[in-house]
Amino acid sequence: MTRAARIARAIFVAAMVSFAASGVLAAEAVPTEQDRATNARAVALSEQLRCLVCQNQTIADSSADLAVDLRRQVREQIAAGRTDSEILAYMTERYSDFVLYRPPVKAQTILLWAGPLLLLAVAAIVVVRIVRDRRMTATPTLSDDEREHARRLLDDDGDQR
């Protein structure tokens, strides 16, 4: 091996060793228990908030600029010690109830919440009425035994009485 080649090999080995070492040093920080809790809260909140740019996505799903900014806001506010309801209130103050995927129950939304029950009640009333009508108008039918019995009574001409 020539001298030049030996030097080149030495440099190569040194480079590999330092790369490996830097790899060890750059190991990812282990997330603490608190980070995990914060993360879970941030995701849960983001999944309740509508992205106003792409209206059928949550800000957790959307990659719109505004969604990214709002996710950042959620995280910052969690870090600042705000409660979930405070963060949701912060969002509705700015973007109205529309930002909530789950609309609050209030006078304006009562039809939305009670509507399905109302429809169910109407359907139940209709069904009950139909069934009752049918029972009233149904012609009574006789079983074969009853028919036989009736025939015998009629054929007797009432002589036995």
């Binding site: 106003l52 209206q55 600029d65 505004l66 103050e93 973007y95």
Partner: protein, 176 residues
């Protein structure tokens, strides 16, 4: 005629009516809860004079418009000539909120298309935009003399909006 047959017809008419009204509504226009509330405070550097700042409090006593714009915003170009025209009439001061933009890009855009703004301020990370409930640039707000938001227009303003809504409201607020 059997009255019972009228019930499905009535249901149909009601549903049809709701759906017909629904067709004329724009789901992208979310009514702002900020209308009727005090304009959210900010203190931002000016676009052309970064050393100077502006806050809504500086404009107390005046009726003014806040127009949210950006050089990357395509529909801002649509409304821009109208704003330039409005600025020329000097009816109402217009403050530009340069939203999530680079300063140089914003300055260049104004040089190219005309600058209708009495002042533009820089909201580089969009935080003030969030405080104002901005979600679709351009947006235009009318703020009264007491610093209360009176109107919000989402999307590019058109000639009809300026003539029928913005100008009458501005004049009314200035007179009060």
């Amino acid at each position: 005629m059997n009255r019972k047959l009228l019930i499905p017809l009535a249901v149909f008419v009601v549903v049809f009516g709701f759906l017909l009204v629904g067709l004329t509504l724009n789901p992208r226009e979310v009514p702002s809860p900020l209308v009727g509330k005090a304009a959210p405070a900010f203190r931002l550097a000016r676009l052309h004079q970064p050393a100077e700042q502006l806050s809504p409090a500086d404009l107390t006593g005046k009726v003014w418009l806040l127009n949210v714009w950006a050089s990357w915003c395509v529909s801002c170009r649509v409304e821009h000539p109208l704003l330039v025209e409005l600025a020329k009439s000097k009816v109402v001061p217009i403050v530009g909120l340069n939203y999530k933009d680079r300063r140089e890009a914003g300055i260049e855009w104004l040089a190219q298309h005309g600058d209708p703004y009495d002042v533009s301020v820089v909201d580089a990370d969009g935080r003030v935009g969030i405080d104002w409930g901005v979600y679709g640039v351009p947006e235009t707000f009318i703020v009264d003399k007491q610093g209360v938001i009176r109107y919000k227009h989402i999307g590019p303003v058109d000639a009809a909006a300026v003539k029928n809504k913005i100008l009458p409201l501005v004049r009314q607020l200035q007179a009060s």
